[in-house]
């Protein structure tokens, strides 16, 4: 996944999350891949920014699922 900005990462996760079940949010491989790329490009703080912004658009429970999905990426513990 190349040329991923913070903004496009949020946009993509929101697009996925608008249609996802909780299970899908928790296990979706695209969301995990986005987390891995953001960690590589922007580090932990970038991940926090993406997760919080996407979570605020989709609702707090969705944020919880994204946190779980990213568990184990860099220093992220969901």
């Amino acid at each position: 996944m190349t040329n991923l900005t913070i903004e496009s990462a949020i946009d993509k996760i929101v697009e996925i999350g608008r249609y996802s079940s909780a299970f899908d949010l928790r296990t979706n491989s695209e969301i995990r891949e986005i987390g891995e790329t953001i960690n590589k490009e922007y580090g932990f703080s970038g991940m926090v920014q993406v997760c919080e912004s996407a979570g605020s658009s989709l609702g707090g429970s969705a944020l919880r699922m994204i946190e779980k999905n990213w568990s184990g990426i860099g220093n992220w513990r969901g």
């Binding site: 903004e7 949020i10 946009d11 929101v14 697009e15 996925i16 999350g17 608008r18 249609y19 996802s20 079940s21 909780a22 299970f23 899908d24 979706n28 912004s53 996407a54 605020s56 658009s57 989709l58 609702g59 707090g60 429970s61 969705a62």
Partner: protein
């Protein structure tokens, strides 16, 4: 170009996905191919791989996989029952239909038994797969799970399965579940009511759209009101165009977008002015480029006109039709 079943078989054997794509888009009768290749593992495995790559509607391919009838396809087909932005409802329906051919009476009894298992993952999976059998027993069981299971994800899954089955007996329980303590269950219930497309759910969906604290629930209620397509929802959806975006949310508020899309589906001309106003206000906010496109599409759907995001032209058009 005209293709036949041998071309398709050659494409499968050579794993030529682009040729497979072209053949599937043509008018080839896939049933003839399926009859020849029943139980063929090579065909099934290639089709399973191809499913991940095929960008178009997968229903035809899913049906073909079910017809070939290889046991290995079960797991892939069960995966296609998941609620995911890449899987359309008609594709889930096709997967359910195909699975019906691959599952037997023992499977059915096991899934029913799994609904009472202590392991919530078993209950989740059973709730997901049982939508394959849209009979009275299953609907009653799923309703019980929706209203009583102690795991929110299992209740959520029951709501989605009831929506996919789309039986009217599920309407009242789904309306009750719009008040569940879990955001996921409320959201899934809103989606399910949209799939059933019954106008009796409109009032409660409007309440969910205007009052639910969770944007994920509100956006799903908006989408479902669009699917039901009644003008009774126009006012609530217009209000939702102004649903306040969280501060710092530069992708825009998803509820706004869903409301605009729903208004486009309903096609009520009373939404023209609010949509032009939304387009103007969203246009000045560079953080939400996608929302502009959604508002434009909604206006085009309602008016059958194509003025893009030129609000001057939209206002001129509105003046013309109101004179």
């Amino acid at each position: 170009m005209t293709y036949n079943k041998d071309n398709f078989w050659d494409a499968i054997q050579s794993k030529n996905f682009s040729l497979m794509e072209n053949i599937l888009k043509s008018e080839i009768d896939i049933n003839i191919f399926a009859n020849d290749k029943k139980g063929d593992m090579v065909a099934a495995e290639t089709l399973i791989d191809f499913l991940n790559e095929y960008p178009e509607n997968k229903s035809k391919l899913i049906t073909l996989l079910g017809e070939i009838g290889v046991d290995k396809a079960k797991f892939r087909l069960i995966g296609l029952l998941e609620i995911n932005y890449k899987i359309k409802k008609e594709e889930r329906d096709a997967a359910a239909e195909s699975l019906k051919n691959l599952l037997n009476a023992d499977d059915f009894n096991n899934f029913i038994a799994d609904l009472s298992d202590e392991d919530s993952e078993k209950r989740y999976n059973a709730t997901r797969v049982l939508r394959v059998y849209p009979n009275y027993i299953v609907i009653e069981k799923l309703i019980y799970v929706l209203l009583n299971d102690n795991d929110e994800f299992v209740r959520e899954r029951a709501a989605y399965s009831l929506g996919d089955i789309s039986n009217e007996n599920a309407i009242e329980p789904l309306i009750t579940a719009l008040k569940d303590k879990s955001d996921f269950v409320r959201g899934a219930s809103a989606v399910a009511l949209g799939y059933i497309e019954d106008e009796n759910a409109i009032d409660q969906l409007i309440l969910a759209l205007s009052d639910d604290e969770n944007p994920g629930v509100r956006l799903r209620a908006a989408r479902s009101l669009g699917l039901i397509g009644s003008k009774k929802a126009t006012k609530a959806l217009i209000n939702a165009l102004q649903d306040s975006a969280p501060k710092g949310d530069f992708v825009g508020n998803t509820v706004n977008k869903e409301a605009a899309q729903a208004l486009g589906k309903i096609g009520d001309k009373n939404a023209i002015v609010p949509l032009i106003e939304a387009l103007e206000s969203w246009s000045s906010d560079s953080r939400i480029p996608n929302s502009k496109m959604v508002a434009v599409t909604a206006l085009e759907n309602i008016t059958q006109k194509d003025f893009g995001n030129d609000t001057t032209q939209w206002w001129k058009y509105y003046e013309e039709i109101t004179i």
